[in-house]
């Protein structure tokens, strides 16, 4: 009897200490996370012109569905997402498998070379790509000197090619980053499995498809979710390839590089500042990310 009451007391003090210790973190999270989340939702029910606000309820969400610019931005974002992410992840997986082979020389050099782009600044590499892909830039000169093309390719001057350019740029920047995740995953696969497979007569390709990919599944899901989030928030590359839209009126030729995040920026800072509508668009990004992540978990994830 006595024992249990002291235990209760001790529990209570423990609890109190526990709450005390996490209270600071809680306060900080509330101020810097929960409050902005709540407030931006409140904001998304407003039509704003700078500091002039008017409550419009869910009108912003209705307007969104009829806004051709939003739909265009959504389309562009999904084009990048559907084409670039699979290419990048597949490349990353292939590179990782090759570089995991002990018989290859200078593995460290290759790994570093592939990972290096991931530590360069987003703005710096985008500007570099802009220079390389200009109509008289390095890439066109190279291709013309090699007689692969006759006329310079209008990389950044044509709606189609500008999309190609940004996909190349993104792939260069992020493939190595994803490769590192796969590499660390591959180190955890016991060699015996491959040996057994070899004895059973499985070729390298079959080993890759039947062993590597299934075992790496959780990591593949993780990288694809990270890439999904990254692509939906794509901002630096289109912004800088189009020079922030300061000398051009659109983001890329015919708004071909307009992404959701750039649209949010334009709504807030380039056009008449409609922070309410911009908040609405950012909420939509959150929903899309949530839905896509859910699908990816369901399709490819483990039961647990």
């Amino acid at each position: 009897m006595l024992k249990s009451s002291t235990k209760k007391n001790a529990d209570r003090t423990h609890n109190a200490y526990g709450w005390l210790f996490i209270s600071l973190a809680l306060i900080l999270i509330s101020v810097f996370m929960f409050y902005p989340i709540g407030h931006s939702f409140y904001l998304s029910t407003m039509r704003t012109k700078g500091i002039v606000q008017q409550f419009v309820g869910l009108n912003n969400y209705i307007r969104l569905l009829q806004d051709p610019m939003f739909i265009l931005a959504l389309k562009n974002t999904f084009t990048f997402f559907l084409i670039q992410v699979p290419i990048m992840l597949l490349l990353g997986l292939i590179f990782a498998t090759i570089l995991n082979d002990n018989t290859i020389k200078f593995r460290g050099v290759f790994r570093t070379a592939l990972f290096l782009p991931a530590v360069t600044s987003l703005v710096a590499y985008t500007i570099l790509f802009k220079m390389m892909f200009s109509s008289e830039g390095f890439i066109n000169n190279l291709l013309m000197n090699m007689h692969i093309i006759q006329e310079p390719i209008p990389w950044l001057l044509d709606p189609f090619w500008s999309k190609v350019t940004i996909i190349i740029a993104l792939t260069w920047r992020w493939t190595g980053y994803n490769m590192v995740f796969y590499l660390s995953g591959l180190q955890n696969i016991p060699k015996e499995i491959y040996e057994a497979a070899e004895i059973d007569g499985a070729g390298k390709v079959q080993q890759f498809i039947r062993i590597t990919v299934p075992i790496l599944k959780p990591i593949i899901v993780f990288t694809s979710i990270m890439s999904t989030i990254g692509t939906l928030q794509l901002f630096d590359e289109p912004m800088n390839l189009s020079m922030g839209g300061t000398t051009s009126s659109t983001i890329g030729p015919g708004n071909s590089l307009l992404t959701l995040s750039v649209y949010i920026y334009n709504l807030s800072f380039k056009y008449v500042p409609n922070f309410g509508y911009a908040a609405t668009v950012s909420y939509v990004i959150v929903f899309i990310v949530a839905i896509l992540s859910f699908i990816q978990f369901k399709v490819a994830g483990d039961k647990n």
């Binding site: 700078g50 806004d67 051709p68 000398t247 030729p253 008449v272």
Partner: protein, 442 residues
């Protein structure tokens, strides 16, 4: 030990919160007091003026000049002139004005004319009303109109973006054209000349951003039209100037007389390295043209080509900006006094910045000074500023409204289809108008 440490951390955190709270609430009250004190008590100005502007070779350099002149009579005033890229400056202004915290704001800021009404209407009460404090009658009308809202004038007009047709005299001569052949052209004539130049010299006539709306704005203002009616309602489909401008854009591209460029750097490079024979743009480009010393004496300026519709003049405008004072500035009176004495009263200052920087102000009393009448050796001894002053008087006044950049984006969203011939101009404008309507839905 651990307990005391965590207690310390806790106390520090709480203190920092309190400090934050203080920062945001106190200063405005403080500053009001300080302001009235200064206004009433001291005749000599003191305090610190923070000024935001972009372009170190132009706006910043000119502001430095103004500072030096003002300091002679007001040695106690401190200046902090901050150079921020235009895009970043606008973003910073938006964030600070929207937050309602005035600490981060400068006392004086530069705002581009196309954006003036947007700031004035989006942040009412944030900019100082300068009606009666500055003699706005001395400035060119169209500049003053841009900064007027509900009968109050909020800024001090600065540079004009009066436009001209800058050309390489040597290339044009090679193609068989003299200066007198280039006066008062229409765009159709311009394109014909461009074809000859391309044929005879192999050079492109124009550096041309396929998605750059600058030239279109020049064309529209030359006709006294804009993307909107005077009352601010969208007018794209029923607007002969817009239609003609889009047609001209397509004609220029189809004529194969352009060097397609992407962004400012490529655009400037194309005439600096001699790839293009001309450029049609605002007067502020003179600095960039002169940056290539080896081309001295090889340039000339002619009036801007006009659209082939009635009312279109051979004079237009691109860009230009003006100074604004922040209403809650601690040194508002000093800021206004500074702008008033230098930018709205100092004739010599305008002569100096014109001579040094090629800056053409919109302050009319200064437009008869000695620097204006000077021959410019770079432009083959042409009296270019006399010419520009004359053209400036013809620039049609246009109400840019709030949504210039939205309209620009809507039009250039469909331009690739127009260039490729996938859309007729009527359909393209219909589509653009639809876009724009949704974009600025009220």
């Amino acid at each position: 030990m651990k307990k005391t440490l965590s207690l310390l951390v806790a106390v520090l955190l709480v203190l920092s919160f309190v400090a934050c709270g203080n920062n945001t609430t106190q200063p405005p009250a403080d500053s009001e007091g300080a302001q009235t004190d200064k206004g009433e008590m001291s005749s000599e100005n003191s305090g610190k003026l923070t000024i935001w502007a972009w372009d170190p070779n132009f706006n910043i350099a000119i502001m430095d000049e103004a500072k030096e002149i003002y300091l002679k009579d007001n040695p106690k005033v401190e200046f902090e002139i901050v150079d921020i890229a235009k895009g970043s400056l606008e973003q910073k202004l938006h964030v600070n004005l929207a937050s309602g915290v005035t600490d981060g704001l400068p006392d004086i800021t530069l705002i581009e004319d196309y954006n003036a009404q947007k700031y004035l209407q989006s942040y009412p009460g944030s900019f100082a009303d300068l009606t009666g404090k500055i003699k706005h009658d001395d400035f060119i009308d169209y500049k003053v109109a841009l900064m007027t809202l509900d009968g109050k004038v909020y800024g001090v007009p600065f540079d004009t973006g009066a436009s001209g047709f800058f050309y390489r005299t040597d290339y044009l001569k090679q193609a068989g054209y003299e200066a007198q052949d280039l006066n008062d052209l229409t765009w159709a004539q311009f394109i014909e000349i461009g074809k000859t130049v391309k044929e005879k010299t192999g050079k492109a006539m124009l550096p041309f951003g396929l998605d750059d709306g600058g030239l279109m704005r020049i064309m529209l203002q030359s006709a006294g039209k804009w993307y909107f009616d005077d009352d601010g309602s969208i007018n794209l489909t029923n607007n002969d100037a817009v239609k003609e401008a889009v047609e001209t854009y397509k004609a220029i591209v189809d004529a194969d007389i352009i060097k397609p460029t992407n962004g400012w750097t490529e655009w400037v490079a194309s005439f600096n390295n001699g790839d293009s024979a001309s450029v049609v743009t605002g007067i502020w480009i003179i600095g960039s043209i002169k940056a290539e010393n080896s081309q001295s004496g090889k340039w000339g300026v002619a009036p801007t080509p006009r659209l082939n519709i009635s009312g279109s003049k051979n004079a237009s405008n691109l860009g230009g900006s003006s100074w604004y004072v922040i209403e809650n500035s601690k040194n508002k009176d000093v800021a206004i006094d500074f702008l008033n004495k230098i930018y709205a009263g100092d004739n010599d200052f305008y002569q100096k910045i014109l001579g040094d920087k090629g800056a053409v102000g919109s302050y009319q009393p200064a437009q008869t000074g000695t620097a204006y009448a000077k021959e410019d050796a770079f432009f083959g001894n042409q009296k270019i500023y006399v010419d520009f002053s004359a053209w400036m008087k013809d620039i049609p006044s246009v109400n840019y409204g709030l949504h210039t950049y939205e309209a620009d984006a809507a039009i250039f969203n469909v331009m690739p289809d127009v260039y490729a011939g996938n859309l007729s101009i009527e359909d393209a404008l219909k589509k653009a108008e639809e876009h724009l309507k949704n974009q600025i839905a009220q």
